[in-house]
Amino acid sequence: MQTNGFLILPRAVEVYQAQSSMYNVSMNLFTPFGVSEFLPDAALRHNKLTQQIAKYFEIAGFSPIRTPVVEYFDALAVGLDPHLVSQSIRFFDTSGHMMILRPDHTTPIARMVASRLSKTPIPLQFYYVAPVFRNTTTDSPMELFQAGVEWIGVTGPQSDAQLIQQCVRLLSQLGFTDLGVDIGHPALADGLSTADRDALVHHDYVRLGRLPERGTIEVARHIPELVALDTELRALNLHETVRYNTGLIREFEYYTGPHFEVYANGIRQMVACGGRYDRLISKFGYDCPAVGFALNLSLIQEALAQC
């Protein structure tokens, strides 16, 4: 089918024209679809939430990092996931360079680490609370607020488990206790036919012919990294919170090890996701393993406002 950009843009124009004629507005006072405009009440709530999250990350030992809002497309494209490229907002500067609004934080942080911090002793622990920019869809705004961490230079199941623990702790501190955490692994796709893989990526279990298994570590016994992770999660008393999902397959494999998605009761979409990405920083010239997660702050703020 078509990309969302193709479907949404004509509609945005249509709605704008309809609004202008309906209210007889001659000046264009409308904002583009999907940008945030916080009136004082919402701005205050937003500030409190971001401060609470920043404080949590700092206590946990993470340092703030800020990536540029605008970058050269060529520089970032080296490590950018193809699906993020297709969702990204790009334009030309006055000298004809293609520019990009950052569509995520992990990729520019990987670029910064490889280009500026490759001599700094690892591990490095960074956090950010800032928006990313993507083409508006019916499910996601153009300006999407995210909060997350990157933990660079760590390997092994212990760091994978601690990452999940940090994410779950932060969400429960924000008031989300009824959580579902699904864990996947790129090795789950090994041996699948192209057709089955495609059906899983598109969540089409009719085409797959069955529902993918989801449950305790028993469903993923054949993946040693997940078995090791489960032992660590058990030690952190998190094994009851997580489920291994054999259907968690992504179209473009950005993760190289265990990865997870978090859902919260009453929130319609994924509230957080993260995992191990050992080959991203090396795309920018510095071979260094890493894990990280990001929270969808726009969704969380929307859910908290409804409470």
């Binding site: 279990y205 009719v206 529902l211 009761n265 979409q269």
Partner: protein, 206 residues
């Protein structure tokens, strides 16, 4: 409680019959009542009667945990839903049709096509390599070729009776469609057991 969104009309009647077979009885018969929702006798299920095109919207945005929607609607709208099961009922097909009296050797470039399904139509003409001008209509598509608004139509048909009565003939079938059981990622994670049980119960009926 599990909230189920079902398309008003034929799919609702078929769905209620399936639910009844697996022991889920709803308090009100939505096919005759003017109520838009009803709860089952155990209080575990709530069924919503919505417009066919709105089913995936309710499900994708989490207002309903599961839904029963036609394959045609899912293909056309491309909402973020998980497809669980082909239900087998509500069978129909998306076809291209033209006037009987007008003899086509096949679709031609710059053909004008009237349809309620612009995305599926555009994908179809893209696939067969024909440049088409799509005219989006909201109903009574069969009038378009008769009045000269379009050369052909792309529409859903179950029996072909409406096409026949309006002197149209089927030129090609784009896809076959039946009802599917769908859910969203959040519900499928948090209400996993309930949704899986429901899916298995319905699939074991056939």
């Amino acid at each position: 409680m599990l909230t189920i969104a079902v398309a008003k009309g034929y799919l609702m009647a078929e769905a209620v019959a399936r639910f009844s077979e697996i022991g889920i009885q709803f308090e009100d018969d939505l096919t005759v009542s003017r109520k838009l929702f009803t709860i089952d006798t155990t209080g575990h299920y709530r069924i919503l009667q919505v417009r066919p095109w709105d089913v995936p919207v309710y499900v994708a945005r989490g207002a309903a945990d599961v839904g029963i929607s036609g394959f045609d609607v899912l293909e056309e709208k491309n909402d973020a839903v998980i497809r669980l099961l082909d239900l087998g009922f509500g069978g129909c097909r998306l076809i291209m049709a033209g006037e009987k009296t007008r003899t086509f050797t096949g679709p031609f470039h710059d053909i004008r096509v009237a349809t309620k399904y612009p995305n599926a139509t555009s994908a179809y003409f893209q696939k067969i390599g024909i440049k088409a001008h799509i005219i989006k209509l909201y109903g009574a598509i069969e009038l378009a070729p008769i009045t000269g608004l379009a050369d052909v139509i792309v529409d859903l048909t179950a029996t072909g009776k409406t096409l026949e009565e309006n002197h149209l003939t089927i030129m090609d079938t784009i896809f076959h469609s039946t009802a599917q059981l769908i859910t969203n990622a959040s519900s499928f994670c948090l209400k996993d057991t309930q949704i899986r049980t429901l899916t298995h119960q319905i699939s074991s009926l056939r």
